[in-house]
């Protein structure tokens, strides 16, 4: 099992884990205020396409990352309008958003890049600044939720919106802010994938990473540091299983493919007792009801 401890394997784990980690932080922020963001995968994908397009247009990977974040935040605003202001069902709306984003990004991408075939490569960022950016996000979120009035108010809105409302906090406004920050982080995750280790966009480039991120938030008990650790662990499982397939031949390869999901399930089961689900998660707030 020395493959786990090779430097190259750990680097691969970080490349695979960072986009998922950023998206998980995004899901975490909105869920702490009670908004379940099942549009996360779609927001990642939108951020990835936006980041790719901006990177290609300007030649700057950092502008791509910025554009992906802003587009993600815009997606967050759309979701907030639907589920916070209008109180649409969060599950249905989120899934619909992801379906829409998959179709829309594919359509826009083909419209622009399929003429004559091959879409261009864009500039790539090293992993080091992206890892530092992720750690900065973790620190900022930890500070927000533990050391600021705004963060505590956000947490209160996710646990007991009536009480927060009675104390004078604007429930809708706080949920809007959190959903937009969450969307921005998801878009950042998508842009980090495309402007980071890959340098190209193809249809459905995120390939389900947003859904993994949603599961990781539960696994992490809605704690930023644990969410990032979980994402890196998931990346490590993938990096290890791909390498084990090339070396060991006695075990059926399907067993390796299942490894990341088995680890996730085991972790979820082990943590189930310590669940700290926000009490108002997924519940629209109507004053006086």
């Amino acid at each position: 099992m020395d493959v786990i401890f090779k430097l190259a394997t750990l680097e691969a784990a970080i490349r695979l884990g960072v986009p998922v980690a950023l998206a998980a932080l995004g899901a975490l922020v909105s869920e702490r205020t009670g908004v379940l963001n099942l549009g996360l995968e779609g927001m990642m994908l939108s951020g990835a396409l936006g980041g790719y397009a901006a990177n290609e247009a300007t030649g700057s990977a950092w502008l791509g990352v910025l554009a992906g974040t802003l587009i993600g935040a815009g997606c967050g605003a759309i979701l907030a309008l639907l589920v916070v202001t209008a109180r649409a069902n969060q599950v249905v709306t989120g899934i619909a958003f992801t379906l829409l984003a998959l179709s829309a990004t594919t359509y826009l991408f083909q419209l622009r890049y399929s003429i004559g075939g091959i879409p261009p490569r864009v500039n790539r960022l090293d992993m080091t600044p992206l890892v530092l950016l992720t750690l900065a996000c973790v620190a900022a979120l930890w500070f927000l939720f533990n050391r600021t009035t705004l963060g505590l108010a956000m947490g209160a809105v996710g646990e007991a919106p009536e009480a927060a409302d009675a104390l004078g906090y604007k429930v809708e406004r706080l949920r809007w802010i959190a959903t937009m920050i969450g969307g921005g982080l998801a878009g950042l995750g998508g842009a980090a994938l495309v402007c980071g280790p890959l340098g190209l966009f193809i249809e459905n480039v995120t390939a389900g990473r947003g859904w993994v991120a949603l599961a990781l938030v539960v696994f992490a008990g809605w704690k930023p540091g644990a969410a990032v650790a979980g994402a890196i662990l998931f990346g490590l499982c993938d990096a290890v299983q791909l390498r084990l397939q090339g070396t060991a031949t006695d075990v059926p390869y399907e067993a390796f493919l299942a490894l990341p999901y088995v680890v996730t399930l085991v972790a979820l089961v082990l943590r189930a007792r310590a669940s700290r689900t926000p009490a108002a998660l997924g519940v629209p707030y109507v004053r006086g009801m």
């Binding site: 209008a86 109180r87 193809i202």
Partner: protein, 378 residues
């Protein structure tokens, strides 16, 4: 309900959000609506609508499709329908079928063409296949290996229509057929070229899953490399996904860390992943199903899958009035694939490698040499 207590502004906002939600859902399901609409319209309109919709971005294809639709050369020719689970313009598997089918329409071999993309296997695929059959399309092709059950379920109700899917293993019964994917034959030749220009290192192979069409490609590529460099070894990785490029690239980088310098992928994601890894590590790579010279500087050669030849066999059976399908196979020797060497590499291939390549190509074509088919590890 809550609406009774809402102030007026809330109600207006709720109505607005409801409209937005519905339009979100409608947009998300848009593909299906379009498909259903096009497949139930009059046949000639269907061609124009379906084909031009999908070719909106590709100027040459649109032009040819419209020309053919405007003046059908042979209105008695069979009407071909194809369904596919992803996008036509994916630069590989889908595009090979798209180009092949449009070629047949252009040359008048078929009088009408219905192209449906993003049709997931299962109930939706059965609806699409049934609708095409009811509209008189024959033959009907399902361009993915996982449509087998759907094709068989629908074909039983339309005994006069030939249904074919991309099984690749000779799954034939009555009016259900299957078509071959003998990519390993071209892959062998790519292996020769890769070893010739690279001169050292091992082979990395990858596919979405370990299916025979993919695994045999890797084994043949390795055999080709060994014809030049006898000590070459290799590894094959099933990425677990046909579209996840990042995962596929990490798989290839893992193989590169173990000494791989020659990369061959099977399926869109695995192929792009292998090419990306080769670009980053000064390796050489191989295009899959279409000419991928432009995908990266590492692509030494590609094979183009001539699906027009395969589809032509199927259409010929229908035109001849047959209702029994067969295993449609067009090997390399019969022109089922074209092997192309990327321009950038054309003058960098050593003379003895090129001689070996041409000798083996000629031997495959005249039947004196058969590329070994190894469908699974063992």
């Amino acid at each position: 309900m809550t609406h009774v207590n809402l102030p007026k502004r809330r109600r207006v906002l709720s109505a607005l959000a409801l409209v937005l939600s519905i339009s979100l859902l409608a947009a998300a399901c848009g593909d299906d609506d379009d498909d259903d609409a096009t497949s139930t319209e009059a046949p000639t309109d269907t061609t124009a609508a379906a084909a031009t919709d999908t070719t909106a971005a590709a100027d040459p294809a649109t032009a040819t499709t419209e020309a053919a639709a405007a003046a059908p050369a042979n209105s008695d020719a069979p009407k071909l329908a194809i369904v596919y689970s992803a996008d036509w313009l994916d630069g590989s598997w889908g595009q090979a079928a798209f180009d092949g089918a449009n070629g047949l329409l252009e040359s008048g071999v078929i009088s009408d063409l219905l192209l449906q993309e993003n049709v997931p296997p299962g109930a939706e695929a059965q609806r699409a296949l049934r609708a095409a059959a009811e509209d008189g399309f024959n033959p009907i092709i399902a361009h993915s290996f996982d449509y087998g059950d759907d094709v068989k379920a629908v074909a039983a109700d339309f005994p006069e229509t030939i249904f074919v899917y991309a099984g690749g293993f000779g799954d034939v019964a009555a009016n259900v057929g299957d078509y071959d994917q003998p990519f390993y034959q071209a892959s062998y030749l790519s292996g020769i070229l890769a070893a010739g220009v690279q001169g050292e290192g091992n082979v990395a192979g990858a596919g979405g899953f370990e299916i025979p069409a993919c695994y045999s490609m890797y084994e043949a590529y390795l055999a080709g490399a060994q014809a030049v460099l006898p000590d070459t070894t290799g590894s094959f990785v099933a990425v677990g996904d046909w579209y996840d490029v990042q995962l596929a690239k990490e798989a290839a980088l893992g193989q590169q860390a173990d000494g791989a310098t020659m990369f061959v992928g099977c399926g869109q994601g695995p192929t792009f992943g292998q090419i990306e890894a080769a670009n980053d590590t000064d390796g050489v790579s191989t295009g899959y199903v279409g000419d991928m010279a432009e995908v990266g500087p590492s692509v030494v050669s590609s094979f183009i899958w001539r699906l027009d030849k395969v589809f032509e066999l199927i259409v010929a059976d229908v035109a001849a009035g047959k209702t029994e399908a067969q295993y449609y196979s067009v090997p390399l020797a019969a022109g089922g694939m074209d092997l192309v060497i990327s321009d950038a590499w054309a003058d960098q291939i050593p003379a003895d490698t090129l001689a070996l390549f041409e000798e083996r190509l000629a031997a495959i074509q005249d039947g004196s040499f058969e590329v070994p088919f190894v469908p699974e590890a063992g």
